[in-house]
Amino acid sequence: MGTLVEEILTRRVGRPVAAGEMLIVDVDFMMSHDNTTPLAIGAFEAIGKPIRHPERVVFHFDHAYPAPNIQAAANQKLIRDFARAQGIRNLFAQGICHQVMFEEGFVAPGRVIMGADSHTNTYGAFGCLAAGFGSSELGVSWVSGRTWLRVPETIRVELTGELPFGVYAKDVMLEVAATLGMGGATYMAVEFGGPFIDALPMPDRIIFANMSTELGAKCGLLAADATTERFLEQHTKAEGPFARLAPVDPDYARVVHLDVSALTPRVACHPRVDTVRPLTELEGMPIDQVFIGTCTNGRFEDMVLAASILRGKQVDPYTRTIVTPASRAVHDRMIREGLVEVFHAAGAVVTGTGCGACIGRHGGVLAPGEKAFTTMNRNFVGRMGSAEAEIYLGSPAAAAATALAGHVADPRPLLAALAAAAAAAAAAPAVLDPEAVR
């Protein structure tokens, strides 16, 4: 009996648990990447005991890969040498850790996953408890195979209504961020649900769990249903049967209702993710770099949406447009279905997979005084390079429209024109139909 996170932990420890209790729990997988693994190795070595379950330890190379400088190269060598010595076989260099974690089947409903990265929350979209920890704590957990935690209180975000044309799940999440505020869910679990979420395809659901981090949440959760299971079966290596856990007579700390029916495109303004304004208020603001990618909006469906807007057009010559697929699988599918060609023909750069420009170290670093429009999840000062650059966050559609215009632009007129043309032709390829990906 309880909220989704209480249900998951109840199942895990085999007795009813409630918010506020402190528990020691068995951990299914412990994830870290090229940025955080070296520190974890340090803590691990201070204990001086073996890794309890090497098969549960997962390393990714994604934050700066292939290494852009000597220091990164040395760190990555350290990680590979350590993995070899410790018999760790789960080494991945095929995309953003959070995307690859579910593609490779590490994520399934009911699991408990620790990650040395703040957006580990992402996997909560699949009905599991996934949370970010400090790097040294992760190294400690390699020894014990467990962690201790305090069962968090839950904020329920109940979403209803249908999205208007040209408005996307990312816009909804930005509105949620504006409502709850940065830190509005500190230490708590945020449970997303309601008819809007029930009808949402998996790639869009992931945005909500992913950006629960921006609210300060320990974890973000969505209950697994038939949509979740179908996605896991078709698009990941996870094998069923999958646990079906849902809140049972939950006692929420707070319930927030949001009807999405009248929402318009949103933009989170530099440098806070909760300073959210209607996109139309920012229209015309010049943009130096558009970046489409990341663990928030770097999936195939995001690419289809952006490509549908850019197809047959040219991006503004004074604006750099960078497209970074979230994983090699996304990249492969983009190649197969002709999206890379569409981006290239439009004048955009399609980079290899990874975090890319999101951490401001390679793949699209900003100069002082520049402004970027991106599909990322956060816009802290200095995040993409210079501390004197500004970062604005929006949907892939808004990013693509902005790339064409060279300034912040509303995607809706472009989408409407596409829809009209498609209706006229009545033969547009289904994959490039913006309605189909909404």
Binding site: I47, G48, K49, G134, E137, V143, S144
Partner: protein, 163 residues
């Protein structure tokens, strides 16, 4: 005789230990600079066994482990606060700093002489006999704190012993 040190709401980790002293993780060295800007007499006068009283959200701000390490280095018995920032709470347990969540921390008088029962979750003013309720600390948290932190704990033991 131990004393209490009272702080308000939202004490942040920069106040606990300013960033420029974070070049070491030695508890004794860090302790010499604890609260040195906001309460300059603190590092000189704090004595082993003292108790810190805080308001809401104690330890907010950056996630640096240096903050609980600095307080641990002073030898204080415990930090009692109405609530703790999430990461400070985790870090405190992991570095072995005793903490207690006490909703009535504000009503504890400044001149109280406090004894703390972590298991029962009771803070007692030995002068007056008045007791304040706090959240009891489960056995595993007490064991980690008693071992001076999670790394030393795991060197000698296994988390399974605490299940």
């Amino acid at each position: 005789m131990s004393r209490t040190w009272r702080f308000g709401d939202d004490v942040n980790t920069d106040e606990i230990i300013p960033g420029r002293y974070n070049l070491t993780i030695d508890p004794t060295e860090l302790a010499q600079h604890a609260f040195c800007e906001v309460r300059p007499e603190f590092p000189q006068q704090v004595a082993p066994g003292d108790v810190l009283l805080g308001g809401r959200n104690f330890g907010c701000g950056s996630s640096r482990e240096h903050a609980p390490i600095a307080l641990k280095g002073t030898g204080i018995r415990c930090v009692v606060a109405e609530s703790f920032a999430r990461i400070f709470f985790r870090n405190a347990v992991n570095v072995g700093l005793a903490i207690m969540i006490c909703p009535d921390a504000a009503s504890i008088p400044d001149d109280a002489e406090l004894s703390v029962d972590f298991e029962a979750g009771v803070i007692r003013d030995e002068r007056t006999g008045v007791e304040y309720r706090a959240e009891p600390m489960p056995a595993f948290v007490r064991a980690i704190i008693a071992a001076e932190g999670i790394v030393p704990f795991l060197r000698e033991h296994d988390l399974d012993e605490l299940l």
